[in-house]
Structures are given as C-alpha cells and as structure tokens.
C-alpha cells in the first residue's frame, strides 16, 4: 500500500531503525508528522542535524560535549583527585542528578563482556589508564552497573587501580530507599545481606 507513497515509506523505514521503534510505532509517528505544520517539522529536522553535527564526545572523559571538553572537565570547581568510572553518559547524568559527587568522570562506553568478546581494548580503558598516569587522581569510584558485565569491568579496573596504589571504592548496592523488604526480590536481598555494614 505504501509503495505508492515513497516519501512516506522512506520516513517510516528511517524511523523504524531507531531503538524501541517497531513498524507500527514508526507509521504512527509518520502520520503524526504528516499532520504537523511544515515549520515544526523543519525545526525537528534542523534539531536532529544540529545535534548530530555539534555534539561529540569529550576528549578527556568521553562524556557528550559541544566543545572539546565537556562542562564537567572544563569546570575548575570540580575536585580533580576523584575519578568516577561509568559505563554510559546516561549513568554520569544519573549521578549528577543526585548532587552527591563533585569529582571528575570517565565514561567507558560499554562494559567488559566475555560472552560478546568485548575486552578492555574495545572500551575507553586505555584512555582511562593514560589519565591515571597524567592526572593527580588518588581515588577511583567504580560506578559500573551491577550486572555481570558491570561487575566484570569493576573487577578488572579495581585490580589495576589497586596495583597503582589508588584508593578504590565501589558504589553500594542493595535495597532501594523507600521500599519494603518483603517486596524486594531474593537476589537483591542476598546482595544487601552480603554487603551489610557496621551500624553507626
């Protein structure tokens, strides 16, 4: 049916390449854009292109940036002796939203994965090691996810950092605040019990 509407079909096909968007959603979005004013569609198209052209990765920490250095790396108020290692820019943003950390970051763009054959060289790990050599960093916070891949990455980096005499910490994990123990899954409770700490 859409064969006779090549422009519509082309947009639908482009939209369906986006993550989480299937054929049906793509068609719905395309119909929505059809009813949108030409001006708004132009603004959307321009925003897409502008973002793609202007945003890249920070040369130092590999967070997203519009300049050579991201806003965190170029902020003189950040503490330079702490470095928090995360898997993705979204993880960095989550920690920033918590207002609990004022040091620097390093974004790995992934995690070690034996099953997918993703090794240290496939991530921004060589660049991290270079930073450890060049910057006055004394504490590493391993904030990779609590998945098998995230834990593998933390183990790998933890060993390297300890060998270099750095202080290494890992984010605490377990029961989310505001939740009832009885509704927490067994695996999370298991980790929370294993990671219990002195009560003060």
């Amino acid at each position: 049916m859409l064969g006779s509407l090549p422009s519509f079909a082309r947009l639908e096909s482009e939209l369906s390449k986006l993550p989480g968007i299937g054929r049906k959603t793509a068609a719905r979005l395309a119909f929505h854009l059809l009813r949108t004013s030409e001006q708004d569609v132009e603004a959307l198209a321009a925003a897409l292109l502008e973002m793609r052209r202007n945003v890249h990765f920070c040369q130092c920490c590999f967070h997203i940036a519009e300049e050579e250095l991201c806003q965190i790396c170029s902020n003189p108020a950040r503490e330079t002796q702490s470095l928090c290692v995360v898997e993705e820019p979204q993880d960095l943003l989550a920690i920033e939203r918590s207002h609990s950390y004022s040091g620097l970051y390093h974004v790995l763009h992934g995690a070690l994965s034996p099953l997918d054959g993703i090794g240290p060289e496939d991530l921004k790990i060589p660049q991290l090691l270079q930073r450890l050599d060049q910057e006055p960093i004394s504490e590493i916070i391993l904030a990779t996810n609590f998945t098998v891949e995230g834990e593998a990455t933390a183990l790998y980096l933890g060993q390297i950092c300890k060998d270099r005499g750095l202080q290494v910490t890992r984010l605490a994990h377990g029961i989310p605040s505001g939740s009832d123990l009885e509704y927490i899954d067994a695996g999370t409770v298991q980790q929370a019990v294993a990671g219990r700490r002195e009560f003060s």
Partner: protein
C-alpha cells in the same frame, strides 16, 4: 487453544534486549535443553523476574507457550545467583566460556539432563573458588564425551594398536591418538600419561570437580588435545575464549 502455564528449573545463559523494555532470554533446562524465552517489560520492572534475569542465575520459571518455539516467561523464583562468580574475573570469564560452549554445541530444544547437571556443577565449583584450569579441562572433556565427539585415546586411531610405553602423537582430524608409524609428520607429541589422565577422569561422576590433581605438563598437553577436538566441532571460535586470552 489455551496453554496452561508450566514450571521449569533453568539456568539463564544469555540476555538480549528487545525493543524498548523486553528481554529475550536464552535458557538451559534439563528437560527441554536450550530454549528462548520472552520476558515482557523485564527491563522496566523488576517485580516479576527480579535478579533471576542475569547470566549464570538458576531459577524456576513459570512459562506459557508463545509464538513459534518461544516461551513466554511469566515469573520466576530464584534458586541461586552464583554471585560468587562476580568476585573473580577469571572465573567469571570461564563461566562465560562454559555457557558459550553449551550454546554453540547443543541444538535448541534437545533435552540434555546430564549436560545440564554438568554445567550447574561447573558453575558451582567456579563460584566456590575452585581451580580454574582443572574446571576448564574437566568441563571440556566431559562435554566432548557426552556429545559423542570423544577421540581415540589409549590406542592408535588408525591401526588400533594399544599403547603401552611408546611415544604418541595426537591429531583430532585423524581421529585422535596415533602411533609414530601411522602419524608420520602430523599431530602433536603427547605423553601417554596425559592421555591416561584424560581417560581416567571420565570414570568419575560428571558432577565432581573437587579432588583432581594434574601436573602442569598434563594440563598443558590436555589443553592442546581438547582444543584440537573443539576446533573441529565448534561452528565458530568462542568469543569468551578471546576474552580469556586478554586477561
């Protein structure tokens, strides 16, 4: 047709994100072998599956028949997370290797009770901090044997002469061990002691990993032998092997 939910114990081998919030789960079970399961909204909500949807986890899953051969996973009850694996990168990589071998060598849907038990025991042993080299040797050897890929060991693959004390070569492509007369220039040189150790190890129950002792030379030669056999039967090089070599 209405399909009633069924329950089944399974190991989670692998997770693949699907769409916005769904997950495709590769499961390994005793009665149904390798199965693909569909966990709807599993990335959005941890209510139904919680920590059960992680590689190496053993859990009881409730499922219904879905489209094709897919299982629609409904909920889960955790048996073991094998969390101990997460304290040693080498063991974690070996566990991944075991899981990948099973995924590569078994057909989907073929029941494999003994291989299921073998993989569970392998993960348990690694989790408890067992010896990685021994775990790998025994796991590879038993898997090769159970799948019917065992090479000739204690006699020459071609003239069938039983070895007593002579030098032996090994060439998986030609069926296994070879006497020097038959071998010519092919194969690798191995000790009779190594071959004997491999044959003896198969006499012990598949669930046992404790209590084995192999010398460094035996481990090295057995590694080469098993690697040759695996290279012949694997459809591709395991990715976890590449990872292991980077550690």
């Amino acid at each position: 047709m209405v399909h009633l939910p069924q329950r089944c114990e399974a190991l989670v081998l692998r997770l693949t994100s699907y769409g916005e919030s769904d997950v495709i789960v590769t499961l390994f079970t005793a009665d149904h072998g390798l199965q693909k399961g569909f966990a709807k909204s599993a990335r959005k909500s941890r209510k139904r599956f919680g920590a059960a949807l992680e590689p190496f986890t053993k859990a009881v899953f409730q499922w219904k028949k879905g489209r094709g051969s897919f299982w629609l996973l409904q909920d889960s009850e955790l048996i073991s997370s094998h969390l101990g694996l997460r304290s040693d990168l080498h063991h974690l990589a070996l566990a991944s290797y075991g899981v990948e071998l099973v995924s590569l060598l078994l057909e989907e849907g073929e029941p494999h009770q003994i291989i299921y038990e073998l993989l569970c025991s392998f993960l348990d042993y690694l989790e408890q901090g067992g010896d990685g080299l021994i775990a790998r040797l025994l796991f590879e050897l038993r898997l090769i044997y159970l799948l019917g890929y065992m090479p000739h060991l204690l006699h020459c693959s071609e003239c069938l002469k039983i070895f007593t004390n002579e030098p032996v070569r090994f060439d998986a492509q030609r069926g296994g061990s070879l006497c020097l007369d038959c071998a010519g220039s092919t194969g690798i040189s191995v000790d009779l002691g190594t071959i004997g150790s491999l044959a003896r190890s198969l006499k012990v129950t598949y669930r046992q990993f404790d209590g084995f002792l192999f010398g460094p030379k035996t481990l090295q030669q057995a590694g080469l032998i098993l690697n040759q056999v695996l290279q012949q039967v694997l459809p591709r090089e395991p990715k976890s092997l590449k990872f292991l070599s980077q550690l």
